[in-house]
Amino acid sequence: MIEDTNLAKTIIARRIAREFKDNQLVNLGIGLPTLVANHIPEGIKVIFQSENGIIGMGPAPQPGQENPDITNAGGALVTALPYGCYFDSAMSFALIRGKHVEYTVLGALEVDQEGSLASWIIPGKKVPGMGGAMDLVVGARNVIISTLHTERGKPKILKKCTLPLTAKHVVNMIVTEIAVFRVTPGGLALIEVHKDSSVDEIRANTAADFIVADNLKTMEV
């Protein structure tokens, strides 16, 4: 396993950033998914949406350039690119549910081999609320889950989620610091392995069943 959490997160972000094609509309969740924006390959223009009402979101402002009226869904100050635009929350979620967003990248508390996701509540412990996550995973054309492979040594990829779901059967891809899985109608397929890991290590740290794809590749990061 890759012990350095920051390195692990960078690997995940870099790998996910390679999924996008030019001009695709992408929504990144708060936290680890936000890092993906820093690793978009040169020559690819990804158009970022944030569900609070912006398309064409740019990076954090330079000191002295902050505008309190331009924020992302995490409440952080951001910038708008010249081609960007703003809209209300009804329009924002119409774009999301209406399948106009190509990818959403979100974190997970648990994700399972059926493509179900739990990410918004630990009953009795932590109840932040679902925010826009339920709409995003139901509406985006592709759902990528970015997550560390384990948390305190315990697998996050399970046979079946135990926590209340964000949505059922919606995840298309799971990217961790050591593995990339595709969710297929028949279950999980391991399609990539990090060069410093192995199928055995992944098996030992994954509670879900999975098949190893015939054309298993090394993760390009």
Binding site: I54, D88, S92, M130
Partner: protein, 219 residues
Amino acid sequence: MFHKLIDRKGVSDLLKDDMTIMIGGFLGCGTPETLVDIILEKGVKNLTIICNDTAFADRGLGRLIAAKQVGHVITSHIGTNVETGKQMVEGSIKVDLVPQGTLVERIRCAGAGLGGVLTPTGVGTIVEEGKQKLTVEGIDYLLELPLHAELALIGGSITDKAGNVVYNATTCNFNPIMAMAAKTVIVETKKLVEIGEIQPELVMTPSPLITHIFVSEKS
């Protein structure tokens, strides 16, 4: 001719205990902060607040929760305000968590004269509990019902004296939707301009939806 300008006392006189109030904003961005100040000063209790999120204990409408003036909140996210979670565990506040896209659409329904909306969001989760489920052309949907309010407090950037409103950048969020869904609507505007100064094509909330205009005391 329009006489929509209202002062602090005018706003205060509209506030009552047990009221249902929609408040615009997204983690404080676009929230009418002076109007929140006035609710705090008046000290009305047991409010039902409909809002995207409960912001922060010391900023945005979250201050009303910290001041224990809210008995019920209908919202999509409470994670940034420690007070909401604390009071929920204590049982002193009722929290209805609604997916954000469903929340805005329920408010839109109320303002648009619709009896509800069918959404796939929440199917197969605890959100579907107690709701009518319909299958249309082979897809399962939840029937989500309209959310009305007695009062909506919205944050505008530029408003003319007739009540036409423009929202800057991401301050827009829930504001124009809420402006349609309440009996009385107060816009707190950062800037007040003369009629004719806003290009008509750029108006985002048409003036008849605005009951009162309050000029913000915040920069």
